[in-house]
Subunit: 432 residues, 2 copies
């Protein structure tokens, strides 16, 4: 399908719902999620507009949104909606966009329906928006890979020889993916104390997170088939913000030779709103120059860089609000999601509806643009100084992280909302 | 629950269906699977007895097997059956065992029902028996880990320091798990030619497999909760044979630092029959001595070693039948499945109904007992000599692998049937 800019991307569009210039959810965005209210109704698909959730089941009931089966919308997960294919996603977004315009009377002038279909976001609970089929975590920021290499392996080979030839990744654990706002226990595991050759059982003392963007596969591929890099974007429904919580001490002791495992798979958080790829079309930019030139199966015009501002903030139990600790941009990421998908499927690995593929930590070149605490505190050597006088190298119990992402347009932005998570004390069953 | 030997394990039990002494499916086994016939009936749960499949839906229809919902049995997957819990699994197996005994008339003397409920295995198609929720591949054979370490890293550190302290593993890709008999295309990928610093795109030239046993999780755990090693067996429904197809050249170039990815996730095959843990209770043995003593959370009586004979055979296109290339025993595996499950969940990672956890390649100490071609041909240096004069280091197009596993009792065996897979030519789209 075409990835030219759509009528729904028009910066001039206005909704009858007032949306401030710096709000994440103008009519140009229309991200999808699954919500639940306290009135006993079943969970269902909603679209964010300003401070409201638009209930797609209510629109179907009113005959304003056509579907062969209302249970596609009246659903715990978006997966059945994904299964109807990209033309259906696009048509649904187009209809929603039309219904929300300031010059469309169907919803605007129907008080009863507006009351029913537009619910304040304060009154809903957002749920994990899709059943995560498979989860893969890439490692596609050159700056991050270099920083981690320096800390884990030293100056000699910070970036391993394969890195510039392929989007390195590992299969993660889908079962541990949760929605924003789900607090989680500090993980326990085996760690190797400094100057010891014998590991101990301990709650992680180097708990970190990684600022990432994930993309969600809406169209599957068959086992044995490789997805062409030029067709990869047609498989993608949209993007989420992603917090890849990481226990660095557990990771360091376990990761050779088979890669990260328990240091990662205790919890991964995603934003409740999935921003459709269609909403981000105006924000495509050239990605970083790729040198050496990638192999043919990874060659593309490389204009799927996305100009997304990203920020990460921290709140300790002693703080009243989140304080920004990093700001970076998704456009720095070396391998784009089309290359990631072409690479992942090149061996015939089947892609599934509901697969979640994370970018890897997004770090820029400067210290304030690093997307993880281990980089920001340089391996725990230079603590972050917070404005209330506290310091942090890694996360302490009660600490909360907030991530944000948005594409900045002229007088509007297309944003992801907030992704948050707070560390609960460990459930340290085996402490001796 | 107790893991004492059950009445259904009694070696004296006889079925009215004749089963030879060396048959995998006597009344003491009763493995579960999903089958389909050509008569248009939907896929459903069956139990293997001798050369027959016992149709559990037919037993329900006849009132001989009670269930709240027949769709638990009349199902594409076993997952809903798993969800009913271990007491239900055990009760179902007990009922089936009773109905198949030579002194029970209910099925034996009901010609019409016997015709309907007992179908020749030649007339059914076996399907993937459960929806694989998550897939994890362990690395728990000390002999295999040492051999691979010697080949990948050399004499200096064949076994990394963490190996004797924990069951090393990586998260695999559930979407690529298929049932025995599913042939698959040779994977393509990036490989680094000898004496080159630049990778090329190629079909794998070092295609291998690993002889493994997998266990299937039937009872989930909550995120944040660790499963106690002493309770781990209660989470396990049963075991399957598993062929972990591996592209060694792709794996070697990609696996640092995040572990195996495309070298593994193109295809993994499992047996169609799941042998219940209950059927293997008489074959528990002490596992290998663990030195150094593991940390407390991994400490158990270590009597969950399982005395399973294993064999791997090869058939080239020029051969009429499979020729055995390896014979080993599951009891050699260093870390048992209870330790694997306790370790996997120690950080709070939630276990799901339908998770598949593979043992890792099962190799013994002698060359003829190695569970992979890369070990049997010692890195491709000493080809296997087949009886027809052919040689093999790795798999060529058209080559088939057959794996078998069984526990040997007095005058009976509890077996897994055959696991087979054949290599199809690569679908080499990007060849230049």
């Amino acid at each position: 399908m075409t990835h030219e800019i759509l009528p729904e991307n028009d910066p001039q569009l206005k909704s009858f719902i007032a949306v401030a210039k710096d709000h994440d959810f103008p009519i140009q965005n229309l991200p999808f999620g699954i919500f639940q209210t306290n009135n006993g109704q079943a969970s269902r698909i909603g679209v964010a507009i300003g401070d409201y959730v638009l209930d797609l089941v209510a629109l179907c009931d009113a005959g304003l949104l056509t579907t062969a089966d209302i249970n596609v919308f009246n659903n715990r997960y978006l997966n059945d909606f994904f299964a109807l294919g990209k033309p259906f996603w696009r048509a649904t977004r187009q209809t929603v966009s039309e219904l929300l315009r300031d010059d469309c009377v169907a919803l605007r002038d129907n008080d009863e329906l507006r009351q029913r279909a537009l619910i304040s976001q304060r009154d809903v609970q957002m749920l994990l928006p899709f059943k995560v089929a498979g989860y893969t975590d890439f490692y596609s920021s050159k700056e991050h890979a270099t920083n981690l290499g320096l800390m884990f392996r030293g100056e000699d080979n910070p970036l391993l020889p394969n890195w510039t030839h392929m989007p390195i990744a590992y299969d993660g654990r889908a079962s541990s993916v949760v929605v924003s706002g789900t607090d989680f226990k500090r993980p326990c595991g085996q760690v190797l104390p400094a100057d010891s050759e014998t590991p101990i059982y301990s709650a992680s003392q180097r708990l970190d997170t990684e600022l990432e963007v994930g993309f969600v596969v809406g169209t599957e591929s068959k086992q044995g088939d490789a997805i062409n890099v030029k067709e990869a974007a047609d498989h993608v429904f949209g993007l989420v913000l992603l917090s890849d919580w990481s226990a660095r001490d557990i990771q360091k002791w376990e990761y050779q030779p088979l890669g990260p495992f328990l240091g990662k798979n205790f919890c991964t958080s995603i934003s409740p709103w999935i921003v459709m790829l269609d909403a981000l079309l105006p924000f495509r930019v050239a990605g970083p120059k790729q040198e050496p030139s990638p192999l043919k199966y990874l060659q593309c015009t490389n204009d799927w860089g996305l100009n997304l501002e990203l920020s990460m903030s921290l709140k300790t139990p002693d703080m009243q609000s989140y304080e920004q600790i990093s700001a970076t941009n998704f456009r720095h990421v070396y391998w784009n999601f089309c290359q990631q998908l072409a690479h992942h499927s090149m061996n015939g690995c089947p892609m599934q509806i509901g697969d979640l593929f994370a970018s890897g930590t997004i770090s820029g070149a400067e210290p304030g643009t690093y997307g993880s605490l281990i980089e920001l505190s340089w391996g725990g050597q230079t603590p972050l100084k917070l404005s209330n006088g506290e310091q942090r190298c890694f996360l302490q119990d009660g600490d909360g992280i907030q991530m944000r992402a948005w594409a900045q347009g002229q007088d509007y932005r297309v944003g992801f909302g907030k992704l948050t998570g707070t560390v609960l004390p460990a459930n340290n069953k085996y402490e001796v």
